[in-house]
Each structure stands twice: as C-alpha cells, then as structure tokens.
Symmetry: C2
Subunit: 220 residues, 2 copies
C-alpha cells in the first residue's frame, strides 16, 4: 500500500524532485527529437567552396588537421550540408548513383569506409568508366561496387545513411552538377519514404550480383 | 444556466445523439485525412501499358470514350499512378523538367491546360529542341514555357499540383526513362517539402523571364 507522508529531510526531497523533473524533461526532449525527423531540401548550384576542414575533422581525432591554404570560401553551402549528412553515417551507407565523379564526395565515402562504416555502391555500367569517375578509387579502397548490365540506365541518385536517412533527388554526384546545374536534393528520415528505397536498393544489389552476370560467350 | 433534464421525447433525443455522434465522426475523419498527407514512392521501369482509358476519362464527360483496340495491358503501374496524380490538378500545375518527350504525359498536361488549369513549364534549353520533345506541342497548345540560357543544365525533374502536392525524383518524363531505366519518383504533400520547391520554381520562372534574355548582339 502507498500513503503520502511528510518528508523528514526536505532538502533531500527537493533534490529528488528536481532530479525526477530533469529526467522527465530529458525523456520528453528525446521523444520530441524522435517525433521530428530530419527534413531538409538542398538546391544547387552550390558555389565553389573549401571542404577541407570538414573532411579533416571527420577523419577522426588522430588525423592531422592543417589549415587549407586555398582561397575558396568556407561558407555553409548545399555541398557542405550534403557532406555533413553523409559523414553522419556510423554503421552503414548504401549509395545508388548514375554518375559519381565529385572528388570531395568520393573522399567522404572512402573516409567512412576507413572508419568501419559498411559502404555498398550501385552504379551505371556506362557511366562508371568515364574520365574522372570515382568508382575506380572506391573499388581500389576496398569498397563493394556493383553495376547494371547495360539495358537502360541505372539512373537513381540516392543514398541511405544508417538505414534511417534518405538522400535523394535530381543530383548526380559530379562537380558540374554541383557547381553549374539547377538541381535538388531531399534529406528525409520519414520511414514511409526510407523503407521503399532500402527495399529498392536490396533488390538492385541482389539483381546486380556479379555471379548473375551474363556474358556473350554463355549460351551462344 | 444549464441543467441536465430528462428528455421528454426519447426517440428525438436518441436521433439527435446519433446525429451528433455522426458529425463528430465526420469531423474526426476529415482531421485524420488532413493529418495523413499523400506519401507515395514510385519505381521505374514501368512496363508498357495502355493509358487511353485513363486519359479519355480525364478529358471530361463530354469527350468521346471508345475502347482502345491496342493489345497493351491496362494494369495499374508506376506510369498510370504518375498520370493519376498529375490529372488530379484542379487549379495549377508547375512543371520543372530537364527532358520531356513522353507522349502520354504530354497529352495529360495539354488536357489539364484545356480544362482551365494554369500550367507553367520550365525546361532545359539544350534538351527542349531534341527529336520527340513535347515542348513544341505544349507551346502550340498555348501553354507558357520558359527555359534557361544554356549555362549548365536545368536538371530538375519535379512538378507541383495545386500548390500542395510535390512530384519529384530522378525521372525525366521520357519513354526511355519510364520503360527502360531504374528510376524513382516521390509524391509528397508535406508542406515542409512542397514550399521550398514552390519557391524554387518561382525563382527560376522569374530568372528565365524572356524579357531578361541576353543575346549575343546586345552589349557587344
């Protein structure tokens, strides 16, 4: 049975009440954060900017950080925001990209791979071999890459961070698209949007499994 | 002052209670619908399908509807879903598209224009002149079209229906993209996403105003 009793140590009671109130506030704040998923829209072109500090900081506490001597501004811009979203990955990163040649985004992906994030990349067979493509560097770094077999384009442009944040839009990850084109990117955490893209990634990943590739010499 | 009194006509009281309950339910259902904005994800390729019935039905009650003799299936598919979303427009349609050559989507847009929907189209200067482009037909029908001046691509692929529904993704509105490529389209009614795209459209619409075009003969 419970009964309301007068506290014998009023200071202790006040401290306990304050602690309980603090705990309740923390729980409420966490729930509020949970209810407010990330919803961001980025538009391009994004002006040329220096992202060295951002990438060096993300490389971890052991990495040498030297101020970059380049004259580019270090302003917040659509590219730096996109980089920050990507670099927030802690466990996994799925990338499904038609064209990937932006050096900064390539560095960010390799950096995540080195940090132990499980990175998987799907790309287009015809575009992955073009000059400046980052795909060779990703493979050289040990990142798993799969591609289509050339019937139509693998034209998606999306990434999924930690199976909870979707980054999608019209933007191919190329320097021209970032600095010159009118483009859009949505950053979304609503599960109703993220889940179908995850399923689509897994479908494509399985379909593009190299063991299933058909070669001209087979069956002819 | 209010007081609880025993009803003198129990049947009337019961009817009034039922009516009140019905009204409350209707209000609750309307609120629920308001809280549940459209959230749809479409993936392509979409198999070839016949969209004649859908377009004829949307042309209005006066239009002649004859069964299409073509052998294509009339199944629900990503293209028919995209068409339905577009054809739901009642007041306005903003389109911001890199490439537009799909005849069915072109017919839908012209049909909306004939129905009195205010249609505005922004497109890319280099792609609008390619063979099969729908842009000439749209202009011929009296639809306002504006384009960039060739510095970078106008690479967006989005549309906004009645200023409340955003349709965006990797999909250019071309038959190849629809029938052959791996593509995605998000249909979204959350104002947090729709508003920035509306603002972007208005910015581009103003920037591409023909009175602002610069020609080589000017100032040289």
């Amino acid at each position: 049975m419970w009964a309301v009793v007068a506290p014998r140590r009023p200071l202790l009671a006040a401290a306990m009440a304050a602690a309980a109130a603090g705990l309740a506030l923390a729980v409420a704040a966490r729930r509020w954060r949970r209810r407010r998923p990330v919803r961001e829209v980025l538009f391009f072109p994004s002006p040329p900017s220096c992202t060295e500090a951002l990438l060096a900081e993300a490389a971890g506490p052991g990495a040498p950080v030297q101020p970059c001597p380049c004259p580019l501004p270090r302003n917040d811009c659509s590219l730096s925001r996109l980089l920050r979203r990507l670099l927030s990955a802690r466990r996994s990163l799925e990338i499904c990209l038609f064209a990937f040649s932006c050096p900064q985004l390539g560095r960010a992906v390799r950096l995540l791979h080195r940090r132990g994030v499980r990175v998987r990349v799907v790309t287009d067979a015809q575009y992955m071999g073009l000059r400046g493509s980052q795909i060779g560097l990703l493979r050289h770094a040990g990142i798993q890459v799969r591609h289509d077999q050339g019937c139509g384009y693998m034209h998606h442009k999306f990434a999924i961070v930690d199976r909870r944040m979707l980054i999608t839009g019209s933007l191919n990850w190329t320097t021209q698209a970032i600095q010159t084109n009118r483009e859009n990117v949505l950053v979304v955490e609503d599960a109703e949007y993220v889940k179908p893209y995850l399923d689509e990634f897994e479908r494509i990943w399985e379909e593009y499994n190299p063991t299933k590739y058909r070669f001209l010499s087979q069956g002819q």
